[in-house]
Point group: C2
Chain length 342, copies 2
């Protein structure tokens, strides 16, 4: 019997992860073998989608995460029984940049409270943390190497990146002290995200694909020559599951694992869109520079030597055309919905 | 007029720093030129030494730091008026390893509260933070390079090191956001510390010099071949003052500056002791291995390529013999007090 908690369980990645876990029905637990997924507790500020809410194995805890897992919170019991905790809840990059206190509370304090709750429960769960490539930052006084690797010094250039990097440190020490077994995975820009735009600085990278596919206009705030590091939703979930199921030896340490990237320029992304959806698709993109977004995105690295992830069997997506096709087949976006432009 | 706050102001470094500042009577403030030192507020859990308490320019705030600088605390006013804040208060390495919650509270939460108080005051002070070489750690799954530099990825192997490294990140983001101007200096093992032993894992490195010089026995818990990175009290204070007075351009970024080291084996330290104090001195050292202390000390790097510090004009001590002589002349330790051993 495997009991699983997903914070941010109603978000895009949380929803996808829950569906994968429930559909598989079982999960390999390091040191215990394959176990039946008996309970998936979704913690989020909003309710999950209907198919998850209807699953008898799903429990739902709505509300602020720090309240839910703090002393007396209604998420304490699920956490105390959890074998695996996927910690995906976070305020995203652009909102943390606008509202410093929100990010400190939602990303840093809530994570600390979650770790403390796991420690106090004493069950030693595996905790998988969705960290971010945003821990790395290029700035005038601190150039990044052309290719980053597992030993590159992070120098975050956003509050979101700082908060993620601090959480990585907390995870490492809670693990070293034997309070839990935490693994931090640095996700790249997950693309193509379905659904509505969010307040992440990277949000447009999905928007410029998703919206044209649905026949809607999208805005691109950066130069077409901007290089970005992408990972598909499927590969992102693969990485979270790998972190949850790897042995300590295979995981190979307490520092974070950076994922292998599909490295593209925005121009190359758009050419792939036109190849897959027809040459009219990219005409729905409005190129409107936004210096604030451009600065944040340009501060992230795009080329990654992901040695630890590769040793774990994780690989980048083969090409962006197939990523777009995956999005179309999963969401039912019809390329033919793109109107011709005269 | 320069108003200065020193947290940990009754500690060994805080006391020395206060005396230097009051004795000089002036301090160069970046962008403002040389100003008269009009007020030095010492915050600590214990009272300062008599000469500092008697100085009319000295104010004393005793109690828990987070209480003193938190909302309604009696240190808020001094902080709100400060031009420079030296943040030296900390729980030390071995006590943080024994009492995890103490370290999280005294090192992490108190620093966060201090930064918030500076931000709320809105006066944009320079804040100098005593970080530590303990942010670096050697472990089985994460070897350190033979020589570390300003770009080496910290991988702390102690709660103290994790807390210091997290504070460096908080400082960087509070600075990036324009809430204050923080500079983190990674101090090495400060040696020879006068006074009584403390609970730092590195404490014995002063003890094996200080105690024999005073005719007392000392215990060395590590192998004589252990390499360590030392800095004299004088050079440590020089570095804190450099951080307080450098321009932003000269300081060169928001990441921490690691100090240049006098790199020695413990055996070489002991030979220097015998050269300075006579061949009987080291016979007062009892070599009693302590695996816990040895593990922490062995996890720290000993060789440092301190490029940023060197550009700032900071240099390692010339040799350990002169460091010992400095300790003798400052404390009145008489080498002749060492009894002969038959």
């Amino acid at each position: 019997m495997a009991r699983i908690v997903i914070t941010g369980g109603s978000g895009f990645l949380g929803t996808r992860l829950a569906r994968v876990l429930l559909s598989a029905g079982e999960l390999r637990l390091a040191g215990r073998g394959v176990e039946t997924v008996s309970q998936v507790t979704l913690m989020d500020r909003v309710l999950p989608v209907a198919d998850l809410a209807a699953d008898p194995r799903v429990d739902v805890i709505t509300g602020d995460l720090a309240d839910a897992v703090g002393p007396g919170g209604d998420g304490r019991q699920a956490l105390a029984e959890a074998d695996v905790v996927f910690h995906l809840a976070a305020a995203v990059s652009a909102e943390c940049e606008v509202d410093f206190d929100l990010g400190m509370r939602a990303n840093l304090q809530a994570t600390h409270t979650l770790l403390q709750a796991c420690r106090e429960a004493g069950r030693f769960p595996v905790l998988v943390f969705a960290s971010s490539l945003a821990v790395f930052g290029r700035s005038d006084d601190h150039p990044l190497p052309a290719v980053i690797d597992d030993d590159t010094l992070p120098n975050p250039q956003s509050s979101y990146g700082i908060q993620k990097f601090i959480c990585e440190q907390l995870l490492a020490d809670f693990t070293r002290k034997g309070f839990l077994r935490a693994r931090a995975v640095r996700l790249l820009t997950v693309c193509v995200r379905p659904g509505k735009p969010n307040a992440a600085a990277s949000g447009f990278l999905s928007g410029i694909i998703r919206e044209p596919l649905a026949g809607q206009r999208a805005t691109c705030p950066v130069d077409p020559s901007t290089e970005v590091a992408l990972v598909s939703p499927k590969k992102a979930i693969d990485a979270l599951l790998c972190a949850a199921t790897s042995s300590d030896e295979a995981w190979g340490g307490r520092t974070a694992v950076t994922l292998p990237a599909l490295t593209m320029t925005v121009a190359e992304m758009v050419r792939a869109l036109d190849r897959v959806a027809g040459p009219q698709a990219s005409s729905l993109i409005d190129w409107v520079p936004d210096p604030d977004i451009a600065r944040i995105v340009a501060s992230w690295p795009a080329r990654i030597r992901a040695n630890r992830a590769t040793r774990l069997g994780l690989a980048a997506d083969d090409d962006f055309d197939s990523v777009i096709r995956m999005h179309i087949s999963e969401t039912g976006s019809a390329p033919t919905a793109v109107p011709p432009r005269y």
